[in-house]
């Protein structure tokens, strides 16, 4: 009997444990409050645009007056919708009211993670390349590796920013207020704002993003379109916009996107993959200088990742500046000092501590993730949430960050393929890495360059966080050294280059009219 009681009480304990351990997970930005800007930045129509020549490059016609029959019909649409708000609509309101730039940035990060998968090899040990002309067949287009991702984040953020500057121009020009201000029987299901509602900033962001996505993630157009429709529905149901605010906003966004799409098609990224001849030349020209050329450490050997990405046109400076920012050469591959660097990397991986592994995994951002640029987007976004920025300032800050990250990627890739320097594991095969080894040359570290460029511009945007960003950037850089992926020199030089690139963004930030 005694034992039965014992087993019985044990099962009670187990049951209690089960009940107390719910598996429900609350994600970091799941329950954040609706965006309620402390400053609506009413003058943002005068801020300096990136590609648009003028904020009124694209004409937005004057909207109907708020006492016109057309507008009153639009108010009636909102009132009708508000009579019966479904739980799905409440979810949409909760999700999107956190902020449009934030949510689209999260969606983009998700797509980058989904598509950041290297193609599987062909039967003859060559590799297929994703094709934008045939995006649905394997390997799916794109392979959103770090350079691809950096460029995608930059184009979308920059286009969002220009489109919002244009939107703010028309908001102040026409000054048509929000439906809940016009008619007190329209409920405001978002925080009320004094910002003119025409054209809708959410629709502008959604429109410009959806249009950019056609180029960057062509297999996801239907998904993006659905998200856009949800966002626009949220604006109307919540009483924040009438339909004509939304229609005008989406149209403006799509027009501005066309300018950025045109730039993207001519920025040389399409040729970044190189050709078999380019790959051979990289190795032979390095050998001709008496240096050991990089070789792929994958099996079968994979062509190097986007060897001509260094030729992509940057946002913050011109192409000649890329060469100027390129650091001097690493030590000769036959020198003692190079050997010492690699031996030091070898020493790092012999007995990794749990804390070292944690740091490595925290910053790894390898395949199937949103990449290092995406990680810095996440860091920035979660700090920006606390700042209660207007949408246009959100966009401006994300554009500064992402143009920096893209340009850092360009300078870093230029350097990597200029020197075509082998990794520690190539020089010392016993260097087993604590995370997956990237398929491109070692010098200089991409993580370090990306991270310090981001820390530099973010430290300017949020000076109170500056030392935190610096510490994070240095940890990200060191994570590549302690994982055996890079020499310490690769990381130190990456940090230097990243800081130089970041300073270009700081200079722009000080003169764009937003500070």
């Amino acid at each position: 009997m005694k034992k039965i009681k014992w087993v019985f009480s044990l099962s009670i304990c187990a049951a209690a444990f089960l009940i107390s351990c719910s598996k429900e997970i609350i994600e970091r930005t799941e329950n954040i409050a609706a965006l309620n800007p402390t400053n609506i930045d009413l003058n943002a129509g005068t801020w300096k645009t990136i590609l648009l020549k003028r904020p009124d490059t694209f004409l937005v016609n004057a909207p109907a007056l708020t006492n016109s029959p057309a507008y009153i019909a639009e108010l009636n649409e909102i009132k009708g919708l508000q009579q019966n708000i479904s739980s799905a609509q409440k979810e949409i309101i909760k999700y999107w009211s956190a902020g449009s730039v934030l949510r689209w940035n999260e969606i983009l990060r998700g797509l980058v993670a989904k598509y950041n998968l290297p193609p599987y090899q062909n039967a003859d040990d060559t590799y297929p390349a994703p094709s934008s002309a045939n995006p649905f067949s394997y390997p799916q287009f794109p392979f959103s590796n770090p350079p691809y991702a950096a460029r995608a984040y930059a184009y979308i953020s920059a286009a969002q920013y220009d489109a919002l500057v244009a939107a703010w121009h028309y908001k102040t020009l026409y000054n048509r207020v929000a439906p809940y201000t016009v008619d007190s029987t329209v409920r405001a299901l978002v925080p009320k704002s004094a910002l003119p509602a025409f054209p809708s900033e959410d629709a502008v962001i959604g429109g410009v993003t959806a249009e950019m996505m056609k180029l960057l993630f062509p297999t996801e157009i239907a998904f993006i379109q659905q998200k856009l429709a949800e966002e626009e529905e949220y604006r109307i149901v919540s009483g924040a916009n009438v339909r004509s605010d939304v229609v005008a906003g989406e149209a403006l966004g799509r027009q501005v996107a066309a300018v950025f799409v045109a730039r993207a098609k001519a920025d040389h990224a399409g040729a970044a993959l190189g050709t078999p001849q380019v790959w051979i030349n990289l190795a032979s020209s390095t050998s001709a200088l008496g240096q050991v050329p990089w070789i792929s450490l994958e099996l079968p050997k994979r062509p190097p990742m986007l060897p001509l990405f260094g030729k992509v046109t940057p946002f913050l400076f011109d192409t000649s500046t890329v060469k100027m920012l390129r650091p001097g050469p690493p030590p000769s591959t036959s020198s003692d000092s190079f050997n010492i660097e690699n031996q030091e990397a070898y020493a790092q991986i012999k007995n990794p501590t749990r804390e070292q592994n944690r740091i490595v995994q925290y910053w790894a951002d390898g395949i199937g993730t949103y990449t290092p640029p995406g990680h810095w987007n996440a860091i920035a976004a979660e700090d920006f949430i606390k700042q209660n920025y207007s949408e246009v300032r959100w966009a401006r800050n994300m554009a500064l960050l992402n143009m920096t990250l893209m340009d850092a990627g360009i300078v870093c890739w230029d350097t990597k393929y200029y020197y075509f320097n082998p990794r520690p594991t190539q020089m010392i095969p016993e260097v087993k890495t604590l995370t997956g080894i990237p398929n491109f040359p070692s010098y200089i570290s991409g993580h370090s360059t990306f991270s310090e460029s981001a820390a530099t511009i973010l430290g300017h945007i949020l000076p109170a966080n500056s030392s935190k960003y610096e510490a994070m950037s240095h940890e990200a850089a060191m994570s590549r050294f302690i994982s055996g992926i890079h020499t310490r020199l690769d990381c130190d030089k990456g940090l230097e280059v990243g800081r130089s690139v970041g300073n270009y963004a700081v200079r722009r930030a000080m003169t764009d009219g937003a500070e």
Partner: protein
């Protein structure tokens, strides 16, 4: 005499919980129909080796030249104690080390999970030369260290805390036995070192929701005074989770399913019944998001007779 023969390791834990891909489900005390007698104490040490070249990426069987052969070895120590003839408790923990024969990835090593089981035999029916027994088994396992779980397939374990409930029926006709068991494994969420991940959608958290799992086992063979020889068929099914996408890395919450066939042997020295030896092997015949592993194990066990009056054969 042979009552010491009872201890069998729980490779279960090294295998299924730890393994992406190398699950091999061994004979163990928590999975067999053997009880220790009252006040008997048995300790043992087992070595286990598991390796695979091929694995299932979702349902697609493939190899990976950047891993070559992935092998997991472990040594497990354990103690099994008879509170009564019908109620046993057991505890064990393995030290695990992993490596891949090709590619550049660093292997792992360290202590994995401690597991604790209570095994109860509430009902035994005898008729003629047959005997049917019912067993209820409850278990708990949890990581002993905070090893990294998001490093498949070279991680030490999956990192979840598990609550295991099992029902088992054993039929015995003279020395011939058939044992069938069904198990439900509740698994806690796990924490990974990064702040975001993508399974079938993006997640902004370091928490990973782990699907529960079920396990079925059928075993049959000879159960003698000194020798036990059994054939095993085991299936582990994860109740949820997602498939590894094309050429992606595995993840702790993948839908890992595995079916293995194997054999187990145990021999107790006639001249010195304190000591027994075990050996076993198994082979993966079907799987999903796991390695097609072949595994073998060997070990030795020592029994203490705390209460000599209870010495009798309990291999029943």
């Amino acid at each position: 005499m042979n009552q010491n023969i009872i201890f069998r390791t729980k490779h279960f834990l090294i295998t299924v919980f730890s393994c992406f891909i190398f699950c091999q489900l061994q004979a163990q005390t928590d999975l067999d129909a053997i009880m220790m007698n009252k006040k008997q104490l048995c300790t043992g040490l087992m070595y286990n080796h598991s390796a695979w070249d091929y694995y299932w990426e979702g349902t697609l069987k493939r190899n990976n030249l950047n891993l070559g052969t992935v092998s997991t070895q472990s040594t497990m120590g354990g103690v099994n104690y008879g509170i009564t003839n019908k109620l046993n408790v057991m505890i064990s923990a393995p030290y695990v080390w992993t490596k891949s024969s090709a590619g550049t990835l660093h292997g792992s090593r360290g202590l994995q999970d401690v597991s604790f089981f209570v095994k109860w035999k509430p009902v035994t029916l005898s008729f003629k030369q047959n005997k049917i027994s019912l067993y209820l088994i409850g278990g708990f396992s949890t990581p002993l260290t905070n090893y990294q779980v998001d490093y498949l397939p070279l991680t030490l374990g999956i990192g979840s805390t598990n609550i295991i409930s099992r029902g088992m029926i054993d039929f015995k006709h003279q020395r011939f036995t058939v044992t069938a068991s069904a198990t439900y494994i509740w698994r806690s969420n796990v924490e990974i070192d990064r702040t975001s991940y993508y399974d079938t959608r993006p997640h902004l958290t370091n928490q990973v929701k782990m699907p529960d799992a079920s396990q079925y086992q059928l075993r049959t063979g000879y159960r003698g005074r000194y020798l036990i020889a059994e054939a095993l068929l085991t299936n582990w099914t994860t109740l949820g989770g997602f498939d590894i996408t094309r050429n992606n890395m595995p993840f702790p919450s993948n839908r890992m399913n595995i079916t293995t066939v194997g054999g187990n042997f145990k021999y107790t020295l006639k001249s010195y019944t304190h000591l027994s030896f075990l050996a076993g092997a198994n082979y993966t015949v079907a799987g999903r998001n796991v390695g097609k592993a072949t595994a073998y194990n060997a070990g030795a066990f020592y029994a203490f007779y705390v209460n000599k009056s209870t010495r009798k054969n309990i291999n029943n």
